[in-house]
């Protein structure tokens, strides 16, 4: 069948600058650039280009620019190019469209409609350059009350505390599974987490034994496919996360395309090489909050109650009620992943249409748990499109204890959000398990970039806290008085639990 799909991008090469070094040919994993030896010239196959910018960055003479194809269909705000192309593609293949990363639609990003407060005159700000500002965050269930005991003039804590994760910054690396990404990416995340005193989540594809030494900084995940889950794995991590859902694809299961299931991945996941790794939508032993409780306690039994157990859900319409159930089921941490949450592979229709913005889900969950008097029983980690230190500060003021960053972490190590992770050919060596392409990701360099990013955000968070006159991130948590909305309706302000700017 002749394809009617036109190239999305046009590769332009400045032939005055091109020195025919062929770097672009080697760097492109989609076979865009090629050498025409008859005419001694480098040419491109535009239709293969995914706009990943790998060639743009690596071309020594900066000869390449990539443009959106200027040939557009007749302008139509309803029948956009994306819609027309999707229809053609489906008419040609009969398949559901697969995509990568998070929802890219212009739904509200509420972070951009929320502004922070600062101290002026009456409540002096704190200078973070001179005074310590505390970012350390403890994640886990907190007791309803503390009982103290006086012994020989010394005050002792009588209450037995539930196990906690101690993060030096309220920023953790979100779950990206081994298989979705390669070993080098996991190694970089683990090293960065250890160096920063925070945690990386290894995702649902198991953990390579070479990373066990970073276990104190790794949250191990248990998803419906139970890939790589054995007692050793459960015990090596600092905490366990039960993955019920994720923001990129609420309600549907995981899907690691067979192209990425190499020998190494097959071994750790215990599935045949080249098969799709399927995590069914539900855990087949969880059909209720009671069943969830059963798995939470099975994991606690398997790890002698020494580790916090988190439950991750996608932000959906009734998140608040579900979160209440999760808290009551005995989870120590609730992870909420918003509509912008990313993935290595998801049906596009789900990614772009299912779930709700994390800001609204967070505000309603935090409020619900407070109203029910159980907010202390769980910590809340939010994820799904956290882009900057400002988003982190706003999230914490809205009620989160900490955030997970996934996309931002990958962008730090090279990702350009081309959304083609599911092909397994990520030119930046991230979402690929091809041994050759994976080599592009130098774990030392990547770890350094991750450390730099989180350090930079930490400085900025301290600046913002100091400006508000707050010297510990703890005092910001749920402190919605520090937030004001702009351009929001009354209902939106009500759900967010914040006042309008000027109020």
């Amino acid at each position: 069948m002749k394809s009617y799909i036109e190239p999305e991008f046009i590769v332009k090469r400045d032939y005055e600058k091109c020195v025919k070094c062929k770097v672009c040919i080697n760097e492109c994993t989609y076979g865009v650039h090629y050498y025409d030896d008859k005419n001694d010239i480098i040419r491109s196959r535009d239709e293969n280009c995914v706009n990943c910018h790998r060639c743009v960055v690596f071309c020594p003479t900066k000869a390449i620019t990539i443009e959106k194809n200027p040939t557009q269909y007749t302008e139509n705000s309803h029948w956009t190019r994306e819609v027309i192309t999707s229809i053609k593609r489906q008419a040609e293949t009969g398949g559901a469209i697969l995509t990568g990363m998070g929802c890219d639609k212009p739904y509200y990003t509420y972070w951009d409609k929320i502004l922070l407060n600062a101290s002026q005159v009456t409540n002096p700000s704190i200078d973070p350059l001179r005074e310590p500002i505390e970012l350390r965050t403890y994640l886990g269930a907190k007791p309803d009350k503390l009982e103290l005991e006086l012994e020989n003039g010394e005050v002792l804590l009588k209450t037995k505390l539930a196990p906690q994760l101690c993060a030096e910054v309220p920023i953790l690396f979100a779950a990206v599974s081994y298989g979705a990404v390669n070993f080098n990416v996991h190694l970089a995340l683990a090293r960065a987490a250890a160096e920063l005193g925070t945690f990386m989540n290894c995702g649902e594809g198991g953990l390579d034994k070479r990373l066990y030494r970073y276990g104190d900084h790794i949250i191990v995940q248990v998803a419906s496919g139970r890939f790589g889950v054995n007692p050793e794995y459960l015990n090596v991590g600092a905490a366990i996360e039960i993955k019920i859902g994720q923001g990129a694809k609420p309600g549907i299961g995981g899907h690691l395309p067979g192209e990425k299931v190499t020998q190494e991945i097959a071994q750790i996941r215990m599935i045949p090489v080249g098969t799709d790794a399927l995590s069914p939508a539900p855990h087949h032993d969880i059909y209720s909050i009671e069943d969830l409780r059963q798995l939470i306690y099975a994991l606690k039994e398997a790890t002698d109650y020494t580790k916090p157990v988190a439950v991750k859900i996608a932000a959906v319409h009734n998140s608040a009620a579900i979160a209440s159930g999760i808290a009551r089921a005995g989870a120590d941490i609730i992870v909420l992943d918003g509509v912008r949450g990313a993935t290595g592979a998801a049906p596009k229709v789900i990614r772009d249409n299912v779930g709700i913005p994390i800001e609204l889900a967070l505000a309603s969950v935090d409020q619900r748990l407070r109203d029910e008097g159980i907010r202390n029983r769980v910590s809340i980690i939010v994820s799904g499109g956290i882009r900057s230190s400002a988003d982190v500060v706003k999230a914490i003021a809205l009620g989160a204890d900490a955030v997970y960053i996934g996309t931002a972490a990958l962008v730090a190590i090279g990702c350009t959000l081309c959304q083609k992770c599911y092909t397994g050919k990520c030119p930046w060596g991230i979402t690929t398990t091809d041994p050759q392409i994976s080599k592009r990701l130098d774990p030392d360099v990547a770890a350094k970039r991750l450390i730099n990013l989180v350090r930079a955000w930490s400085i900025e968070i301290k600046e913002m806290l100091g400006a508000m006159g707050i010297n510990a991130i703890e005092s910001l948590r749920g402190n919605r008085e520090q937030l004001r909305g702009v351009g929001l309706t009354d209902t939106e302000l009500k759900i967010l639990g914040i006042k309008m700017a000027g109020e």
């Binding site: 054995n230 215990m270 799709d276 039994e301």
Partner: protein, 265 residues
């Protein structure tokens, strides 16, 4: 062949205290004991004891969950859900019926049940063996896995219900139909739905197979694979191996290793 439940499970113990130790054999009276206390006792004693007998088990969950040694545990009564979950090594004999989630994500070891089991036996099982003398519930062997030498085995002596071997990615699942009367077919529907690895052997008639799997005949190497497994099964429950093997077996295997590869573009 044998629909009667063993009455051995009803055995009670009039022990003075909850734990007695005699010659490497630890005896626990679990009456009125919370599962957390029971499992703590198991963890404390299982590294040294040869054998642990637990009497008066009334639905305590997680027995053997996460245990990592080679102890032999005898459970008298009815253990609760998630028996032997994440277990790595021990052998558990249940003298009575088991409930849901037997061997959930079990890594190695053995579970032998002298009775029936509930739903999701061996969910995502990664290694070891489970033998259920009588019937089991829904979704037995869902998501079973294997790699190289690590190959889990589940044998159900009786019959099992729908979604048997769903999403199966490896391992061997055997259903012997010994509780069915002559000519009675297995009722399980959607057998092997989403299957992309492993083998299911069924003795007797199965009528409804998931669209990702197919029924085929046994070959010589299948018999060689199956015989020692059935031998082991018979050795626990005193069945006659020749009688069991004389039945008509069918094999269910995946149609493809990528059942859903064509759904996406």
């Amino acid at each position: 062949m044998n629909r009667e439940f063993s009455h051995e499970g009803r055995k009670t113990l009039d022990a003075p205290g909850p734990v007695m130790i005699n010659n490497g054999v630890v005896t626990i009276n679990a009456a009125n004991m919370h599962y957390r206390d029971l499992n703590l006792l198991l963890k404390t004693h299982s590294n040294l004891a040869k054998r642990i007998n637990i009497y008066n088990v009334y639905g305590q969950r997680y027995i053997g969950t996460g245990l990592r040694n080679n102890v032999e545990i005898h459970v008298y009564g009815t253990p609760g859900n998630d028996l032997a979950a994440f277990m790595d090594g021990p052998t558990i004999y249940v003298h009575g019926n088991a409930q849901d989630g037997v061997g959930n994500t079990m890594n190695s070891g053995k579970v032998v049940v002298y009775g029936c089991a509930g739903d999701v036996v061996g969910y995502a099982m990664r290694g070891g063996r489970i033998f259920i003398r009588d019937d089991a519930g829904y979704r037995v062997g869902i998501h079973m896995k294997e790699y190289g030498e690590q190959k889990p085995v589940i044998v159900i002596g009786g019959t099992a219900q729908d979604f048997l071997g769903e999403y199966m990615a490896g391992g061997i699942l055997v259903v012997l139909g010994l509780t069915l009367s002559h000519g009675e077919t297995h009722k399980a529907k959607f057998v092997g739905t989403g299957m992309h690895g492993g083998i299911i052997y069924i003795r007797g008639q199965v009528t409804h197979v998931g669209k990702e799997a197919k029924i085929t005949e046994l070959e010589e190497n299948d018999v060689a694979l199956l015989k020692p497994i059935i031998e082991e099964f018979c050795s626990y429950f005193n069945f006659n191996i020749d009688e069991v093997l004389a039945g008509e077996f069918k094999k269910i295997v995946p149609l493809s290793t990528r059942p859903y590869g064509k759904l996406y573009t």
